[in-house]
Amino acid sequence: MTDVIKIKKGLDISLKGGAFPEVQSASYTENYALCPTDFHGLIPRVLVKEGEQVLAGTPLVADKNKPEILFVSPLSGVVSAVKRGEKRRLLAIEIRADQKNAALSYPVRNPLDMDGVKVKEALLEAGLWPYIKRRPYDVIANPRVEPKAIFISAYDTAPLAPDYAFILKGQGHDFQTGLNALTKLTKGKVHLSIPAGSGSGELKNAQNVEIHRFEGPHPAGNVGVQINRIDPVNKGETVWTVNALDVLFIGRFFNKGRVDFSRLVALTGPEVYEPRYYRCVAGIQLSALLKGNVHKEIPLRYISGNALTGTRVEMNDYLGAYDSQVTVLHEGTDVHEFAGWVMPRLNMFSMSKTYFTGLVQKICPRKQFDADTRILGGERALIMSGEYEKVFPMDILPEKLVRACITRDLEKMEELGIYEVAPEDFALCEYVCTSKVEVQRQVRAALDLLKAENGEE
C-alpha cells in the first residue's frame, strides 16, 4: 500500500440533509426509463418499439457511431413510450416494469479465467460498457482504443455525498469480481483510490489493483484529481474511469450470469424530511423516492446527483444512469433577501472570509448550513484572482484554462491541460466564483469542441 496522498486545496461544503446510514426500499413503481441524455455526446439509435416486451438486459438503444455499445433495459416489462423532445431528440425509453424481474441469461464466469477481448465483448453485450468513461473528454470509453490505465474512485467528497463504504458493505465479492474484470481491459494498472482513514474491508482488501489512499477536502474524491496525482494524462493518452458503485454492476453480471442494476441511492438535501438510503433499480422514476418525503410549501429543485454537478430533474423524471444520490434544494425564486451583500448571512455557507462561515464553524464545528439555488449575485467579468486556485488541487492553472475555454482557444487549452479535466473538476471553482461564471458549461463546451476538432467519435 502506498503513502497517503494529501490534498490541501479544496472545500468541504457543509449542508443540511446528509443521509442517515439506514436503508429502506423505494415505494413500488412500475415506471422506469433509460435516458440517452444521461450519456454525454451519445447519438442514439433506438432498437425497440413501443409495446415491445423486454427483459432486464435487452438492448434498447445502440450508439450510432459505435454500434457495439449497447444500452439495455434495467428490468423486465413493456416499452411504454419512446419519448422525444425538440428536433426529435430522444429523451427516454420508458419501460412499464412487470414484477417478474426476468433477465437475459448469460453463463456465470470468472473474469480472471477469460482473456481481455472476451471480457470486453461480454461487457458490451450486457450493456455495461456505458459505465466505463474516458479521459480526455469525459464521455463513454471507446472500446477500440486501449487505455494506459483505469482509475476507480472509491469515495465521493461532494456535498452530502453517499458513503461508498456503507453502500459496498457486504458486496465485497461482487466488487472484487468487477475489479478483476477491469484488470483484463488494460495492460496498464487499475488504480483504486480510497479514503485514508477508511476501515472498510471491501475497499482495503481489494486485490489485483493498486490501492492509493487520499486525504483532504472535496474534490479529493474526484477521479480527475486522483489521476492528476497518480499518473496524469498527457496529450494523446487515454485513461478510463469507473465509479466504484458501478463496478458492482460488472461484478454481479459475471457472478450471477445476468444483469442486476440494483442500487442504493442516497436521498439528501435540506428539504428532505428523512434523508436516508433507498434500495431501488437504475432508471427508477424519482417520485418513488420523493413522494411524501419532501417539504411542499416552497418551490423545490430536484437534482439527480449532488448539488455541485448533478442534473436538474422534475419529480416524474428518472434517476440518472451514473447517479447514486438525489438532492432536493429550495428553489429560491420566492426569496427576496434584503441587502444580502451587507448582511452577516450566518446561516449560509461561504468560503470567503467576508462572511463568517469560518468563525461559525469554529464555534460549532458540526454546524450545517442552508442552501438554495439562487446565484446570489450578478454575472461579471472575472475580477477576483486566486479564487479558483484555492479549490483546484491539480497541477493546472485553473483560471487560465477556463479563460482559454471561454475564448475557445484550442491550442491554449491543450497546452494548459484540458485533456486531464472533466467539467466536474471545476464545480468548486464555479461555486466559489465571485463573478458567477458558468465554469462547468464552458469547460464542457470546450471539451466538445476539442473532441470534434480532433475527429474523435
Binding site: I303, A307, R374, A381, K436
Partner: protein, 400 residues
C-alpha cells in the same frame, strides 16, 4: 421591507423593455439588486453558489478605506489649523476637514457613477460595482487643493478611457483611480506637486480667501523636501518646521494626499483586506519587501543623505503604504497567477523607491511604479503560464 418590495414590483414593469421608463432600465436594475438579492436561480452547472458576489467584495474594500478616509479628514483640518496658527479642538478640526473633503467624494461619485450608469444603459448591461471602490480611491490620492472641476475631468477621463473603452470592470489594463491621478499629474503638474497644494489655507472648508499662514510655514511634503534637498544633511520637517520622526510619518499628521499620510489608518483597513482575502497578502508583502530591498541597495551605494534613508522610513512616506494595500492589489490590473504576484509586488516596491530617490522630477514614485507594473503584470503572467506549459510538455515527453 415587504412594502419596499411591493413598491419595486409595482414600478418594475415600467422599466422593462417596452415600458415607459425603459431608458432607465439599468439604473432601476442597479438599485433593485442593491436593495434585494436577485432571485434568479442557477440554470446550468452548480446548483448552489457561494454567498460572495462582487458587491460584497467591493463593499469590503470600501469599509477598509474608511479608517484612511476618516484620518485624512482629520488631517486636512489639522494641517489647516496648524498652518494658520489657530488652536482648534478635535471635533472642530475633524469637521472642518470632513467638510473640505466631502465635495471631492461627491464629485467623484456623481461623475463616475453618472458615466457608468449611462454606459451600462447604452450597452444594455447591469451596472457593475467597480466604481464604488474607484470613486472612493480618487479623492484619497489627490492633494486637498485640487480644484473640483479637475477631479471631475480626471474621473471622467479615467472611467471612459481607462475602463469603459476596454470593456468595463474586469477588462481594464491600468488601475482606474491611479490613471485619474496620473492624468492630473501630467495635465496640471502645478496642482499636483510643489509646496502649495497639500495644505488648505482657505477659510471656508477649502473655499474662499486664503488665510495668512504662520511665519515658519512650509507646505512641502516630506518627499518633496527630500527630492530637492541638497547638501549633507536631510532633515524632514512638518509644516511648522519641526523635524519629523519616523513615528510622526507612521501616524500621519503630515502634509500629503488626503488619504495616504497615515500608515496606521491604512494598516487598519489593510488588516481587514488581508483577513478577508479580498487583497492578496502576497502582493502587499512583496511590495514592502521590494521597497526594502531597493532602499538597502541604495544605502550601500549611498552618496547623499536621501540614499541613506532606511527602508522603514521609506515605507511610511508618501503613498507607498497606500499604494501597497489599495492600489497594487487591484485584482484586475495586478498579476493573476499566484507566483506572478510575488514578482509583481516586489518590482512595484523596488521601482517606487528607485524613482523616488534617483529621479527628482517625480518626488513620488509609487503611482508610476504601479502603472508601469500594470503593463508588466501580463508579461509576468505569461511567463508563469509558459512555465506551467513547459512542465506539462516535459512530462509528456518522459511518458513517451
Amino acid at each position: 421591507m415587504k412594502a419596499l418590495r411591493k413598491l419595486l414590483d409595482k414600478i418594475k414593469p415600467a422599466f422593462e423593455k417596452g415600458g415607459k421608463l425603459s431608458m432607465f432600465h439599468s439604473v432601476f436594475d442597479g438599485f433593485e439588486t442593491f436593495l434585494f438579492v436577485p432571485n434568479r436561480t442557477s440554470q446550468s452547472g452548480t446548483h448552489i453558489h457561494d454567498s460572495i458576489d462582487s458587491k460584497r467584495a467591493m463593499f469590503v474594500v470600501v469599509i477598509a478605506l474608511i479608517p484612511a478616509l476618516l484620518f485624512g479628514m482629520f488631517n486636512v483640518g489639522y494641517q489647516h489649523y496648524l498652518a494658520i496658527g489657530q488652536a482648534a479642538g478635535f471635533f472642530q478640526t475633524f469637521f472642518w476637514g470632513a467638510l473640505a473633503v466631502l465635495p471631492y467624494i461627491v464629485v467623484s461619485y456623481v461623475v463616475g457613477l453618472g458615466i457608468e450608469f449611462t454606459i451600462a444603459q447604452f450597452r444594455g448591461e447591469e451596472i457593475h460595482e467597480g466604481f464604488l471602490v474607484t470613486g472612493m480611491l480618487i479623492p484619497l490620492i489627490i492633494p486637498i487643493n485640487t480644484p473640483l472641476w479637475m477631479v471631475a475631468l480626471a474621473t471622467a477621463f479615467a472611467v471612459i478611457f481607462v475602463k469603459e473603452i476596454f470593456g468595463g470592470t474586469g477588462y481594464n489594463i491600468f488601475n482606474v483611480a491611479l490613471m485619474a491621478r496620473a492624468f492630473l499629474f501630467f495635465a496640471y503638474p502645478s496642482k499636483m506637486s510643489g509646496d502649495s497644494v497639500w495644505v488648505s489655507l482657505k477659510d471656508y472648508f477649502g473655499f474662499g480667501q486664503e488665510q495668512a499662514t504662520i511665519d515658519v510655514y512650509t507646505g512641502a511634503t516630506p518627499l518633496g523636501q527630500a527630492a530637492i534637498a541638497g547638501g549633507d544633511n536631510l532633515v524632514l520637517t512638518g509644516i511648522t518646521g519641526e523635524p519629523l520622526s519616523w513615528w510622526d510619518t507612521f501616524l500621519g499628521l503630515i502634509p500629503g494626499s488626503i488619504g495616504e499620510t497615515s500608515v496606521l489608518a491604512i494598516l487598519l483597513g489593510g488588516i481587514l483586506l488581508i483577513y478577508t482575502g479580498i487583497a492578496s497578502w502576497k502582493i502587499i508583502l512583496s511590495v514592502f519587501a521590494g521597497g526594502a530591498f531597493m532602499a538597502i541597495l541604495l544605502n550601500i551605494f549611498a552618496v547623499n543623505p536621501y540614499m541613506e534613508m532606511p527602508f522603514w522610513e521609506h515605507w511610511c512616506l508618501g503613498g507607498f503604504a497606500f499604494g501597497a494595500f489599495f492600489m497594487a492589489t487591484d485584482p484586475v490590473t495586478a498579476s493573476r497567477t499566484e507566483k506572478g504576484k510575488w514578482i509583481y509586488g516586489f518590482l512595484i516596491g523596488l521601482l517606487a523607491i528607485l524613482y523616488r530617490v534617483l529621479n527628482p522630477a517625480y518626488p513620488e514614485g509609487m503611482m508610476l511604479a504601479i502603472l508601469f507594473m500594470n503593463i508588466f503584470a501580463k508579461l509576468i503572467d505569461y511567463l508563469v503560464v509558459q512555465n506551467n506549459i513547459k512542465k506539462r510538455l516535459k512530462r509528456a515527453r518522459i511518458a513517451q
